[in-house]
């Protein structure tokens, strides 16, 4: 549980600073902020428990020897490439991706392929792209952005392997 205390402290301090600032400078912001926060909480709250259960169960179902062979330390550049591909195809938001990443880690995945996986997932994010980017930015923008993003997960994974 201690892993959650630092993030909780961090966001609490941020919230305290923002509340104080709004109190001093712009009291109307309290109502807007509360409404925005509540809207988003209402949308997320029903999903999070199911997403966490799904990620934990999927993690347990992963075939360990395959994960280690595909994304393990011995997989080298192929592992980084595989991580990029898996991450790019991974559906769902952070509530799926991060629990799944830790499950892969436990199942024998190495750090550099996981960096590639998370970078690919965060840049490509199938659900987010279809639900937000295509409707709001259009198909041309989306395809062009995906095209220029394609090589970057592999580079991030490579850089992670070099740094470490």
């Amino acid at each position: 549980m201690s892993g959650f205390l630092m993030p909780l402290g961090f966001v609490s301090v941020m919230l305290a600073v923002l509340v104080l600032y709004a109190q001093l400078r712009d009291r109307a912001a309290h109502a807007t902020a509360a409404a925005r926060g509540w809207d988003q909480l209402r949308a997320l709250a029903p999903r999070i428990p199911f997403a966490l259960v799904a990620a934990e169960c999927i993690g347990r179902l992963l075939p360990r020897d395959h994960v280690a062979a595909l994304l393990g330390a011995d997989a080298g550049l192929t592992g980084i490439l595989a991580g990029s591909l898996v991450g790019g195809l991974l559906p769902g938001g952070p509530m799926v991706a991060f629990p799944l990443a830790i499950a892969l880690f436990r199942a024998g995945a190495d750090q550099a392929p996981l960096v590639a996986l998370l970078t690919a997932w965060s840049l490509i994010a199938v659900n987010r792209t279809l639900l937000f980017e295509v409707p709001m930015m259009g198909v041309r923008f989306t395809l062009a952005r995906l095209a220029v993003s394609a090589p970057l997960p592999f580079l991030a994974g490579l850089l992670a392997a070099l740094i470490r």
Binding site: L61, L131, R145
Partner: protein, 178 residues
């Protein structure tokens, strides 16, 4: 809030929630068939502990997001990013992406505003890539609790060049197109 924004938000929750319910049911059934009731209970217990740890962080963070959106209107950010040219703009877009304290419902309306305010494709790409790979909000809420400081540091270091690299590739993309 523009009307697109509202309709996207209204259409989203039910389908997404159903997707997660179905995914949870299918994977739980898989664990039960594979390892039996004890294994499934253990998995549910682990998920429950995660939920207890992460729920307070998410709740506080969503209100942080609410305050930043209320105190720092998108138009202001879009104007800042529109007014500064050259390399400085990439840096500002990166910083704005890192600090955007919200999910896609906060980031994409800002990109729409950016592009309406005249920001070119490459600046929008820098902003989105920085928000996606280095967004502080997501790192604090999700990544640190699950993956720990050492791994997160490595990932952040390895991802630092990503937004600018994406912007430079986007510029090449623009130049190549007729």
């Amino acid at each position: 809030m523009s009307s697109t924004d509202e309709s996207v938000r209204r259409a989203r929750p039910d389908r997404m929630t159903l997707f997660f319910v179905a995914l949870a049911a299918a994977s739980a059934a898989g664990v039960w068939l594979d390892g039996g009731g004890g294994e499934l209970l253990d998995a549910l217990g682990t998920a429950g502990m995660l939920l207890l740890g992460i729920a307070p962080v998410i709740i506080v963070a969503l209100f942080v997001g609410g305050y930043v959106q209320a105190l720092l209107p998108r138009k202001v950010v879009a104007r800042w990013l529109g007014e500064n040219g050259g390399a400085g703009r990439y840096l500002l877009a990166t910083v704005a992406g890192v600090l955007t304290p919200a999910g896609p419902f906060g980031a994409f309306p800002l990109v729409v505003a950016l592009s309406r305010a005249g920001a070119p494709f490459d600046v929008c790409v820098v902003y989105l890539s920085a928000w996606a790979t280095l967004g502080m909000h997501r790192i604090v809420i999700w990544e640190l609790p699950f993956l720990g400081t050492d791994f997160v540091l490595l990932r952040v270091l390895a991802s630092l060049p990503v937004p600018v690299a994406a912007g430079l590739l986007a510029r090449l993309w623009l130049a190549r197109k007729p």
